[in-house]
Symmetry: D2
Subunit: 367 residues, 4 copies
């Protein structure tokens, strides 16, 4: 594998399978002096965790995170932060019937072709369960960005199947089970999801995340542009098939006079660019939108192959999210936070705020 780390100066490394003993990771590069406790991470973990409503998987995981290192007397020390989340609610027998067959649209097939073996219980490493570690790591970044730089990151579900919000209100987002910014259309979502669940099917969705208060100058051309790293981060989330910055694909039909964000001394007059110009943050809100596919764990039979190459039907009977997009909002926020944090440290240095306790010695350089 060897692709389990993300970031250059703020490096997150994850491990863990859905039905193994635990998932966890290491957050390396957090500057010293940040107040931090497990409770700070738990807020976002709880927003992501399953079973919060009837519209997500009914698997029951407390997703309690333990901080194993890097914090001393309530503050980060600058050393790596070890994170551990024990797995709890495992019904591995649910998966025995897919042990040797490949759910169409699922990573079952590609993992087994690559590795020759897979931990089929709950999807193993390909399960979205690993995103809990991203959320925990992202919560550290979010806290640092908010407290030290005034950067705020928030997100919302922006489309679920055919349904879009009629109105937009950030205050509504945390008041329903969907991270949905429009109170009026929540009943339509509920009814859509209830039908879908009865049908045994799944549905796609879109999530939008926004970072405010981003300073100018984050992002390293040519290849480590801020938007390129955001695209990398977002497309690494399970089920994501598309990423847009600012107007995204709407740009295709735009003329230059329409797209360009003119400036006056009061600031930009629009934000078609989504806060990034030439790969570098412009100081406007960074706006990112992602498309999530409908999951492939369905109760409706599908044609596929088994490990011997024989044609079989497959049905998935475990507990699954009919719309992974619903729980994706905190994950996308976390990934945006990781990218911004990494670029902030590249720009400002890792220990820029540290004041060494002792001044330099005079005449210490005896060699």
């Amino acid at each position: 594998m060897s692709g389990s780390s993300f970031g250059k100066l703020f490096v997150v490394t994850g491990f863990g399978e859905s039905h193994g003993p635990a998932i966890g990771g290491v957050v390396d590069g957090c500057p010293p002096g940040l107040e931090l406790s497990a409770a700070d991470l738990q807020v976002d973990l709880d927003r992501r965790k399953p079973g919060q409503s009837r519209h997500t998987t009914q698997r029951r995981e407390s997703d309690s995170v333990e901080i194993l290192s890097g914090v001393f007397e309530g503050r980060t020390t600058g050393t790596p932060i070890g994170l551990l989340i024990r797995n709890e609610d495992q019904r591995s027998k649910d998966y025995s019937e897919i042990a040797d067959r490949y759910r169409p649209g699922h990573a079952d097939y590609s993992y087994e072709q690559k590795y020759g073996v897979r931990d089929y219980r709950g999807g193993g490493r390909s399960s979205a369960r690993e995103t809990a570690v991203r959320v925990a790591a992202g919560a550290i970044a979010k806290k640092y960005l908010a407290e030290r730089c005034g950067i705020g990151i928030r997100g919302h579900l922006s489309q679920l199947g055919p349904i879009r919000p009629d109105t937009f209100d950030w205050d509504q987002v945390e008041r329903n089970a969907f991270f949905w910014p429009c109170a009026e259309t929540v009943p339509r979502l509920e009814s859509f999801m209830d039908d879908l669940r009865r049908e045994g099917n799944s549905i796609g969705a879109a999530v939008t995340v926004v970072a405010s208060g981003v300073p100018t100058g984050l992002g390293e051309p040519i290849f480590d542009r801020l938007d390129a790293d955001i695209a990398h981060a977002m497309m690494s989330i399970n089920a994501v098939k598309g990423v847009e910055i600012g107007d995204g694909f709407a740009c295709v039909g735009q003329k230059g006079t329409e797209h360009r964000d003119e400036m006056t001394s009061a600031g930009f007059l629009s934000n078609h660019a989504g806060g990034i110009l030439g790969g570098i943050s412009s100081g406007q809100d960074v706006v990112v939108r992602i498309a999530l596919k409908p999951t492939s764990s369905l109760r409706i039979p599908g044609r596929t192959l088994d490990r011997s190459g024989a044609e079989v039907d497959v049905v998935t009977t475990g507990r699954h999210d009919p719309c992974v997009g619903i729980r994706a909002t905190p994950i996308a926020e976390a990934m945006l936070a990781l990218v911004l944090m990494d670029h902030l440290l590249r720009q400002r240095g890792q220990n820029a705020e540290v004041k060494p306790p002792l001044p330099p010695f005079s005449g210490t350089s005896s060699s």
Copy 2:
């Protein structure tokens, strides 16, 4: 900066400004034994270079590439390949009037906020001129992938402003100035572009690239997924604002039964996934689509600021592409080739095909 390299085992590093003495780069990690000459790179460089029709910038660059190292007696040696392209047609005085003002929608502002200085001539490092190096490097990857692995990579313009192809024929793509797969609609493109040029405006576009013959198993979960690295690569191209894999944003409205690609012993029945499952190649065509914004170098005045913060108007009088999407097809192909090449080497090793001339010694381990 420090973001000028791409790839982990097949590493491309670029340098160069639009109006400096030269652009160039280093391709590190090419396996030994590949037949290679500058002519192999020139084919794609010529496809990308300006001035090929009246619809792209009239700047005249031969974009002749020199191979400075890494090739001996007509074959690669496994050592880094140095590439050099001298800049030729520079009219730096065209840019004097934007030296201290920021074109709206352009990297002028963000570069200067980040670095405190910028080479304003022709956009300097933010110019799309650097993509010539990507194309040259990508041509090496494309050649290796084709000759050693049977992987073919090709692309086409898939939308220009409001215009989409009526029909699809790969054979048409190289027969017009637009990389356009539909002969019937080429006159509409020409007329649209002529109008646009008269207007002094620019337009967005979409490009689609496809890799065929990709083996199963490329891509490293969790963060170095094949699709994540592709998203990174594509979003790093100038003017790109969106990336889709397979059905991309169309997934948002799809149900699971519609999206999942069922399998029979003859293979997959569809390719909504775009050839990637769980971040790992499935053996199907890898299909990528990107959105390019309309450029911001316009003859129509725009409101902006100058370096002192005063409100001014800006007009760009130099020679510019009214649709950067037109020349983007070979660039997107190159970036896809770089990603596949890197993952192929991660999977198979860098020198997997080498046969050491001498067998291991018996009894050589005297310590």
Copy 3:
């Protein structure tokens, strides 16, 4: 921080302080199919762990490692391997008197100047306790190298203070408390160490590690040479102040005719090079020697400063190794294994041995 990972394709990331809840790490990039259990790692952990004789620290740690992921039905799956070792025997109060003063020769001062804070308990992150994670990770690499490639790695103490072995016998190394290759001189070591302990002082040492059965061709010029990566790995071990490959510093006085290893059809006639030529393995034994300084945690008072800059004396009263070199042999073996493993994967690929269960489909490339 952000320097807590080692390797490019076989990546080890560690975390943990001496007196925190646990130490641990992630081993990313282990190929699938390797038989692995915690017991395989415990062997080397036990060789390193404290309290094995009266000559090392009397802190009692079982150093029991738990494998949290990456192993399924007794074999590696190719996914990251999470490792956890709980800390047990902590007497943090031993350290209260050094909380605000800097032991001379210790990392106390440099950590606090860098981070503005330090976990002073047991040295925190600067404690050699973190090397247990290296040993656990290295044991995985050693097992793979031995079973799949016939590469054997072993080491021994080659000097302790003024004492060198009179004779050399690999079979003796594991039969005494010092990893010492000469039975005759063990009593001299014991007596030397007993005197040292009574004195409250510490002593330097040298360790030699050797890898046999290394194939030709490992190592990537120019900067990722095999010897350069070995030097990096070894110098990253606590207390190491020097690294030699082959004849090392003895080369300074040698002539070319004396140093060059001539070859006949039976193999090399000598191994002054230590198995590496031009940064690439030659097939001979890779021979590495490291120098370890005497530790700075002494019962003999030393002049230093406290956090306020005042001159004070400091005495270290905790339980410490009077010669860290004694326990360094398994650590150095582990680091050599990590380097060889990484370069083996770079050369051969990560999944070179995997046979995909299904052959490629014919006609699957529907796009």
Copy 4:
């Protein structure tokens, strides 16, 4: 290959063979605003270049460097700096007789086993000619470190075969052909080298480099320690077989009371540690010593094999350095500068000194 880059934020990538058209590289990550011209690099290139005295190779290379990018109006812009040095004095026919045989002790054998092919002319990529690029890149780092941070880096030859300096005077170092700190012993060096040249043999050497004015806090535990990165950098230089920090191997015989550097309010009382504690700079001089082996290109015949495995004798008739250590001083200085520069940027950020021309807008965050 893929090992041709060094550094994380200040990244140097090199290319080029001894007898190809050119060598060169890319320096990525230099902060903007540094005054820089080719002349600044030429000083150290001239110190390294061959033919400066009868004691080094008589190959005549002007080693004139061209800066191709990254500098605008005499100052760096923050974008990558392209470097080009054309090769001039090539007598490739000198090498025809070693085209198919392996000089003992040389990289000939290991390169060909690894790559299956090698550019045998002048050693190709394994030639020390590539170090000119390191010196050019290092000169940029040295200039930045000196002008912006007050860090001075200098080095000297500290041993040549059996000869050590009798006295030490930094002012002597640049006054003789050997970078030798002792005027009295220069005649002994000259006579030793003259004898050696007549004999057709070569000799080892040691070089010492020292960095003064280093701030506290550089270096990232655990694996990216300052000393570990220095060891990596130094061991990557051609012919280096050993690296020491501070007292190095002399530590083996030292007691803790002897080694530890006590502190008073005036500073450290000694510098056995070589300026690095726990992998982090302590503010003292960073002191590094390296051992260079005698080169293997000798006029005295040696036993070896040819490409077919047959036993043959080999003689090297080209123009070679009988002591590569002599020209190694500026190379070692350059590598130390690269490591310090990289860690300085990690600590302080890449653009810490930049003042954005415009203040943040009020109310710009329209999304």
